[in-house]
């Protein structure tokens, strides 16, 4: 019972962290702060994965998102100039119209979200690594290889895109 209470409290804290950090990414004008808020949102999301019992996914989340993608984004921030213009365009003029249009969609999505129920399958003990590895390397081995080729092609494409033309 106390464990469930701790889980609920952690869920509330992580929810506050995710929503606040994501709102910070959208609302804060300083782009470096936005990138760090994005990293914090990723970290809270990793906490959510741990709460769900998917520790391996949480580890990949920390390695790939909090590590690699945040560093890549920060390099992108470093290589591009940050102008002092007003950061947004749309909300300044049509804030109320946007709120009116989004509110019914939000209500519908919220009702749909809370309509899902746990199916009562007990969480497997000992983490999710064995089940995950079995799925990846047996059922999804070929798509996994395709994904690795895609990643290689994307990296080569990125290098070609930013390479300077040497006349």
């Amino acid at each position: 019972m106390t464990y469930d209470l701790i889980g609920a409290v952690l869920f509330a804290l992580l929810t506050i962290g995710i929503v606040a950090a994501a709102a910070g990414v959208v609302l804060i004008n300083r782009i470096t702060a936005a990138a760090l808020f994005m990293a914090f949102a990723f970290l809270c999301n990793a906490g959510m994965f741990v709460l769900l019992g998917a520790e391996t996914i949480a580890m990949f989340q920390v390695l790939i998102y909090v590590g690699a993608i945040t560093v890549l984004i920060l390099y992108g921030v470093m290589f591009t100039p940050q102008s002092e213009r007003a950061y947004g365009l749309f909300f300044q003029q049509q804030k109320w119209l946007a709120a009116i249009l989004v509110a019914p969609i939000g209500v519908a999505v919220g009702m749909l979200s809370f309509s899902f129920r746990d199916t009562g399958r007990p969480l497997a003990g000992g983490g999710d690594l064995v089940a995950l590895a079995t799925s990846v390397f047996r059922d999804f081995a070929f798509p996994f290889e395709i994904a690795s080729v895609l990643l290689l092609a994307a990296m080569i494409g990125a290098i070609v895109l930013v390479k300077r033309d040497e006349d």
């Binding site: 984004i73 947004g88 089940a131 994307a154």
Partner: protein
């Protein structure tokens, strides 16, 4: 009381909404990439929640999360490369100013 799956899905939906708002509102191309990453994270959260709480006795949903990781890494690398090469041709990262493909 264990946290129900609906709460996780609701957090995922909120995060996705914030990401969409960021993509629509912000002008800086790098910030738009960040908001796309937030949206991908929201889908990851939904996939893991369904996989752990509502699925069969395997981890198929989490496998798709790994594929989303791969796609996200490829997307942010190519996206930043496009931003940098666009900046090289025309010194701005403001998506309102980059309209070379506009008819």
């Amino acid at each position: 009381m264990v946290v129900p799956i609906g709460a996780f899905i609701a957090v995922s939906a909120i995060l996705f909404f914030i990401g969409v708002a960021g993509v629509l509102v912000r002008r800086n191309a790098v910030v738009i990439l960040m908001c796309v990453e937030l949206m991908l994270n929201a889908t990851n959260l939904a996939l893991v929640a369904f996989s752990r709480r509502a699925g069969l006795a395997d981890e198929r949903g989490s496998v798709f999360v790994i594929f989303v990781f791969v796609i996200a890494a490829a997307e942010v690398a190519v996206g930043l490369a496009i931003v940098l090469s666009a900046y090289r041709n025309r010194p701005t990262v403001d998506v309102d100013e980059v309209h070379a493909l506009k008819g």
